[in-house]
């Protein structure tokens, strides 16, 4: 046969003891990236809603930014799925013939509903800015300006009214959308948890707690990424200011620090919730000790011990927990803590997805995953380190683009 012949999974799976012949690690790195990215989307959105819905004034500055950031993350949440499909050209089939008993059939629907909410909320938040831009650019000449004007004009959707009443209505709409958005964001992500939690064949995944655990860790990672990006952008701006006029501010100002402190408190709250749920799940499994516990225990306390207890819980949860909690926290320490939190959530996804395939359905053997580093064909690119990195850098590129049109951070 002329076509390329690849046994999917053979490349990166090694087997130990008795594993059924057709078993391989079929869900690899992109399926780790998928819940990780949706988690970031959902988390960023929830962070912005804390201000819009619950009026947490202290988060005002961060709210606008994280809203735009969640838009940048949104398309990237679907990308890993696309890279994972064996038949990516058929990606639209679930929308054409959705088979609703499947947990992933509604992904497109939930995803686009959520996308619509985010986009409309952003529109209402920025409407005033858009109209101002469109008006300010009127009458100016030049190709770039004309194009810019046309863009902003289109974005107004014909609504130029900036009267007091209209703006109040905008605010109301934002609040409403943010309010609807929270459950939808949680659904979008809890749903990712359900995709795993409902697989009855997989002893590690099957748990009704899975969706809730996913939501909690999603919010944790979303807040962490927003805070981190915020700090980096603020620092960068200061750096630029300092090089242009030497007498300008030297450190991150009191206001920014305040924002970061407040956000850190929310982060800690969600982190505690996430860890408690995960521990509950673990204890319950050990206590009930069903048939699968023997093999699960040997994976969790044996083969994956470092991944789960040292890297995920220790380095990814405990260390940042104390870094954020202890007094005399500096920006430097906060950054380290945030990076560790993001790493911890990533390891949690890894341990669920890859860890769930670390043992055979026969309960009599193990599988080991070897992430392809240097790709030598399409498959090892898509489902290898480079594919994952492609997914990881995409939101920042998108954010940079969106931010040029809708600036989301005010520099002082």
């Amino acid at each position: 046969m002329a076509e390329e012949m690849v046994v999917h999974g053979l490349e990166w799976t090694t087997k130990e003891l008795f594993v059924y012949p057709n078993e391989f690690i079929y869900w690899s790195i992109q399926i780790v990236m998928y819940p990780y990215m949706t988690g970031l989307v959902a988390g960023a959105f929830v962070l912005s809603s804390l201000y819009h819905v619950f009026g947490q004034q202290d988060l005002k500055e961060l709210a606008r930014f994280s809203l735009v950031f969640s838009l940048a993350l949104l398309p990237v949440a679907a990308l890993p799925l696309l890279l994972h499909l064996q038949q990516p050209l058929r990606a639209a089939n679930p929308l054409l013939t959705p088979h609703f008993t499947s947990a992933i059939a509604a992904f497109g629907i939930v995803f686009s509903t959520y996308g619509m909410i985010v986009i409309s909320e952003i529109w209402f938040v920025y409407r005033r800015f858009i109209v101002e831009q469109a008006t300010a650019l009127t009458g100016q000449t030049g190709v770039a300006t004309t194009m810019k004007r046309a863009l902003y004009r289109t974005l107004t959707l014909g609504a130029y009214d900036l009267s007091e009443t209209a703006l109040t209505k905008d605010k109301k709409a934002v609040k409403l959308l943010a309010g609807i958005g929270i459950p939808v964001a949680c659904f979008l992500h809890g749903y990712a948890g359900f995709i795993f939690g409902s697989v009855k064949a997989n002893a590690l995944w099957m748990s009704p707690l899975m969706p809730v655990i996913f939501i909690m860790s999603a919010v944790v990672s979303g807040i962490a990424l927003c805070m981190l990006t915020y700090i980096v952008i603020m620092k960068w701006h200061q750096f630029r200011q300092r090089s242009s006029h030497a007498d300008a501010a030297t450190a991150i100002g009191g206001a920014e620090l305040e924002v970061i402190n407040k956000a850190a408190r929310y982060l800690l709250g969600f982190l505690v919730a996430a860890i408690s749920l995960e521990l509950l799940d673990l204890i319950f499994r050990g206590y009930t000790a069903m048939k699968s516990w023997d093999i699960l225990r040997s994976v969790m306390y044996g083969k994956d011990f470092v991944n789960i207890f040292v890297l995920q819980y220790g380095l990814g949860n405990l260390v940042p927990f104390f870094l954020l909690l202890l007094p005399r926290r500096t920006i430097g320490k906060t950054v380290v803590a945030l990076l560790l939190v993001l790493y911890g959530v990533f390891m949690m996804r890894w341990n669920v997805v890859i860890g769930g395939q670390a043992f055979s359905l026969s309960f009599a053997g193990y599988m080991h995953y070897h992430l392809p580093i240097i790709p030598h064909n399409l498959e090892t690119y898509r489902e290898g380190l480079l594919g994952a990195l492609t997914v990881a850098v995409m939101p920042f590129i998108l954010f940079w683009g969106i931010n040029r049109i809708l600036p989301s951070l005010r520099y002082r």
């Binding site: 046969m1 076509e3 012949m5 690849v6 046994v7 999917h8 999974g9 053979l10 003891l17 008795f18 059924y20 012949p21 057709n22 078993e23 391989f24 079929y26 869900w27 799925l81 994972h84 499909l85 064996q86 038949q87 058929r90 990606a91 089939n93 679930p94 054409l96 013939t97 959705p98 088979h99 609703f100 008993t101 499947s102 947990a103 992933i104 059939a105 992904f107 959707l157 014909g158 609504a159 130029y160 009214d161 009267s163 009443t165 209209a166 995709i195 697989v199 009855k200 064949a201 997989n202 048939k291 055979s360 359905l361 026969s362 309960f363 009599a364």
Partner: protein, 256 residues
């Protein structure tokens, strides 16, 4: 200008309504309703494996690979044979090199030398898709590419499968894999192209010892049905609630 916005909103609302109305023209049928609409089938394909008769020659695996065009040299296979060797110390040694395609010619089990005197029992277990009555794989397929026929066989539509692998994850028996050439979900389908033409499956035909048989559970006179009705048979992993339809004679607790 406020009216412009109102008009815009009204316009989009009208657009959404017109888009939604045609959707209501569709009706969702429950599986029971659908079955009632097409009527009950008079066939329910089932499989019967007599593990006492299997000698682990692997002819069924080789025949299946040829019949169903699964590349011969790759480890994935629609059906396979497992070897179980239980030693007197209570340990169980299991293997299935290349799915048992070339038979179990080596006395080493899973690469391990086992003293024949230490063996308490040993046997072979052929495996294939259980064509479950309540198939987990069908439930999770997001596009309906995996479906159950009226006569109980679960099939995959190669032209519609998106290759998400959810069905592979959902099957508790590990019978599914991606076809190395077609890049879609693949599994045993009881040689549906043969049985629906009155032939028997490739593996049943290849087995020189009659360890494998296929039959119609709805036909009381079918010898396979009669055996299932009158002998003690068991199925694999019934705790998953999938209601598997491959019955085994001589199944052991050690069988995974």
């Amino acid at each position: 200008m406020a009216s412009t916005r109102r008009k815009f909103l009204q316009g989009s609302l009208a657009g959404i309504v017109t888009a939604v109305i045609p959707l209501s023209a569709f009706r969702f049928l429950s599986p029971d309703q659908a079955r009632a609409a097409v009527g009950e089938a008079d066939t329910r394909w089932v499989f019967l494996v007599d593990t006492h008769k299997c000698v682990g020659c692997g002819l069924c695996v080789a025949a299946c690979k040829r019949e169903n065009e699964i590349p011969y040299e790759v480890p994935v296979t629609r059906t396979w044979v497992e070897r179980y060797v239980v030693t007197k110390d209570g340990a169980t040694h299991i293997d299935s090199p290349l799915g048992g395609r070339d038979g179990f010619v080596s006395e080493r089990v899973a690469g391990q030398e086992i003293d024949p005197a230490s063996i308490s029992k040993a046997f072979f277990v052929p495996k294939l898709c259980n064509q479950c009555e309540n198939p987990a794989c069908v439930q999770v397929c997001p596009v309906g590419a995996t479906y159950q026929t009226r006569d109980g066989v679960v099939l995959v539509d190669r032209s519609w499968c998106i290759g998400c692998g959810y069905c592979i994850m959902a099957c508790p028996y590990g019978v599914r894999f991606f076809h190395p050439v077609h890049k879609v979900a693949e599994k045993c389908n009881f040689c549906y192209h043969r049985i629906s033409q009155g032939l028997t499956t490739a593996c049943v035909q290849a087995c020189p010892f009659g360890a494998r048989r296929i039959g119609n559970l709805k036909d009381q006179d079918d010898p396979v049905t009669q055996t299932i009705m009158t002998t003690r048979v068991a199925v694999l992993k019934d705790e998953y609630g999938t209601k598997p339809q491959v019955f085994y004679i001589g199944l052991d607790n050690e069988v995974r």
